[in-house]
């Protein structure tokens, strides 16, 4: 049978439970709102890199699950995160994406976070240090001690990324959350300070999980001419796709033949510390963060879900802080030739997920999306996605294969073996 009737089209595929998901988890507004509440407000999210706030009083703003966040570096050099919300009347305290509080603002003093609306001021630890006409208005009923900022769990870790958790009591410390998944790369990422050299963002019509899927599965390398000519060999097909606790995966490395793409060059001369030449590692963290190291340049994707069919992806490129200008320029070329907004692969990846997004618009018919490839947990095995969706089902208490049903553990042989 080739083409199918409607009933046949909607039927479950001849695969085991857990080897497909129901597309409603990409398109349903109610499920999306639940994801923000149940997942994104309780998991560790890398919001930026410490090099983006290099000096005391530098700041960076961001958001998680619609909650505005400000990250600051204090005079003690400690990076802290707060809700970017004034406790007075809910004004956004800082409106710019980045900057320095060393400069005075029209409503406030240097070295303070100032809410422009009524000139309340806060120090870099989130303490309220000034309320305009405090005694006249509040007498002794409310004081500065009563109105500090909402501090957030914040750590700088795994290569200098700034991680924030909106939950004061997360299910795991950041170390326990991600250390295993970063295992093979940790020595490399922590060998010396890194620095961001690239930033751009994409807001595309697709579900955030579909972007993460693209980062988790390499079967789509058939879409990338670059990856086919530089990669498809026995070592490539032997790369391991390994699952870790909390829904994370790591894709093992091999030596990429960059010079097989006409005009490109080997990256051996600028390998990250402790790496053999031209290696390619990938770490994918639940619920949607990616760390992608191709020999001489590190890429990090951070997703910010905006709606069931809309996601912002922030792309960063990083090199070593000690790079000479010539080394940095070469790293930038290596990064952008594949991963930049005008690079060869990223455009193709984004076309792929927006194509999926166009078939999973809110209100569209529910379909089965297959994750059933088994190849001994190697590069084209889809165990990484199966592992992710099992974790997703657990956090949501919904089966990814039928989100109307509560989660039941149906672990698969290959995932259990990987763990």
């Amino acid at each position: 049978m080739v083409a199918k009737t409607h009933e046949q089209w909607l039927a479950n595929p001849p695969l085991a439970s857990g080897e497909w998901i129901d597309s409603r988890i990409y398109s349903d507004q109610g499920i999306f709102e639940e994801e923000l509440d149940k997942i994104f407000k309780h998991t560790w999210i890398p919001v930026c890199h410490e090099s983006e706030l290099a000096k005391p009083y530098d700041f960076r703003t961001t958001s998680i699950a619609r909650e505005p966040i400000i990250v600051t570096r204090g005079p003690d050099n400690v990076v802290r995160a707060f809700l970017n919300v004034c406790p007075h009347r809910g004004m956004l305290i800082e409106r710019r994406p980045s900057g320095s509080f060393m400069e005075a603002q029209p409503s406030g003093n240097p070295k303070r976070m100032t809410c422009m609306f009524h000139a309340w001021q806060f120090d870099m630890k989130g303490n309220c240090v000034y309320i305009s006409r405090e005694k006249e208005g509040f007498q002794d009923r409310l004081t500065k001690e009563d109105v500090g900022l909402r501090r957030l769990r914040c750590e700088v870790k795994f290569g200098g990324f700034v991680w924030v958790n909106l939950d004061d009591n997360p299910v795991a410390s950041l170390e326990d959350w991600a250390a295993d998944a970063f295992g093979a790369l940790r020595k490399t990422l922590d060998a010396e300070p890194l620095e961001v050299f690239h930033y751009h963002k994409a807001i595309v019509s697709t579900n955030y999980k579909l972007w993460h899927d693209t980062n988790c599965e390499f079967y789509h390398d058939f879409m990338h001419y670059h990856n086919r000519v530089t990669g498809f060999n026995d070592a490539y097909f032997a790369r391991k796709n390994e699952a870790f606790n909390h829904g994370h995966i790591q894709v093992g490395t091999f030596e990429v033949n960059y010079d097989q793409y006409e005009g490109f060059e080997s990256r051996a001369g600028l390998s990250f510390p402790h790496l053999p030449p031209n290696q390619w590692y990938m770490v994918d963290l639940f619920p949607g963060m990616n760390f992608n190291l191709r020999g001489s340049a590190l890429r990090c994707d951070i997703v910010t879900p905006i709606g069931p069919n809309k996601v912002m992806i922030e792309f960063r490129g990083l090199g070593l802080k000690k790079d000479t200008p010539e080394e940095r320029e070469t790293r930038i070329n290596h990064h952008n030739s594949i991963w930049g907004p005008f690079g060869r692969n990223l455009h193709e990846d984004l076309i792929g997920v927006t194509g999926q997004g166009s078939t999973t618009l809110p209100g569209s018919e529910s379909r089965r999306v297959l994750h059933g490839r088994h190849e001994n947990q190697t590069i084209h095995d889809e165990n990484g996605m199966r592992h992710y969706y099992e974790e997703w089902s657990r956090w949501m208490n919904r089966m990814a294969s039928d989100p109307s049903k509560p989660f039941t553990a149906e672990r698969h042989v290959e995932v259990a073996a990987a763990e």
Partner: protein, 186 residues
């Protein structure tokens, strides 16, 4: 003293009787520079990549740059010499690319000719629209144009006997949000 003079200013100088002045020569060359920029726009719009590269010097260098206030860095999104860009263009058929053509609206703001007449610089603004073919759902989106990029071209020309050739083009875009991006030179 500034080694370059604005050709617009020079063109106001009167020509001596019986001959063509230096200023007139300069004005002619400024017009040729403008013409070359506009021809490049049409060739890029029409995806006549080889014709575009034929407007470029052998030592041509191309770069797309943007400043990011987010990370406080000046960034290079794409760069290469003529042979690098030629390679990218030659390999385009191997890649999966959004089919929606890009259309540029270019306005040449200034053209400055070096005193020796052998080089020139020009600043132009551009707006790039994406005329949707694919879109998200081509049934709905095709036929619509959407703003894709705005920015400026900073061009340097080598002035040859047969006219100006692009020696360097710096495409400086305002955006850091680029959504699907592009495989094509801007």
């Amino acid at each position: 003293m500034n080694t370059e003079k604005t050709i617009e200013a020079l063109s106001y100088l009167s020509a001596p009787r019986g001959g063509i002045s230096m200023a007139q020569n300069g004005a002619d060359m400024a017009a040729k520079v403008r013409d070359t920029i506009y021809r490049a726009t049409i060739m890029l719009d029409d995806q006549r990549w080889d014709d575009w590269l034929n407007l470029c010097h052998d030592d041509f260098h191309y770069a797309i740059k943007s400043f990011s206030p987010e990370i406080n860095k000046d960034m290079t999104y794409l760069q290469g010499k003529r042979k690098d860009i030629a390679n990218l263009i030659r390999l385009l058929p191997k890649h999966n690319t959004d089919h929606s053509p890009l259309r540029r609206h270019t306005s040449v703001y200034t053209v400055d000719l070096a005193d020796d007449g052998r080089s020139a610089t020009a600043v132009s603004s551009f707006v790039v629209y994406q005329n949707l073919l694919d879109g998200i759902n081509s049934h709905i989106d095709s036929g619509e144009s959407r703003l894709f990029l705005v920015g400026k071209y900073y061009d340097t020309f080598s002035v040859e006997d047969d006219g100006p050739k692009f020696l360097k083009r710096e495409v400086r875009i305002d955006e850091r949000r680029l959504d699907k991006g592009s495989h094509w030179p801007i």
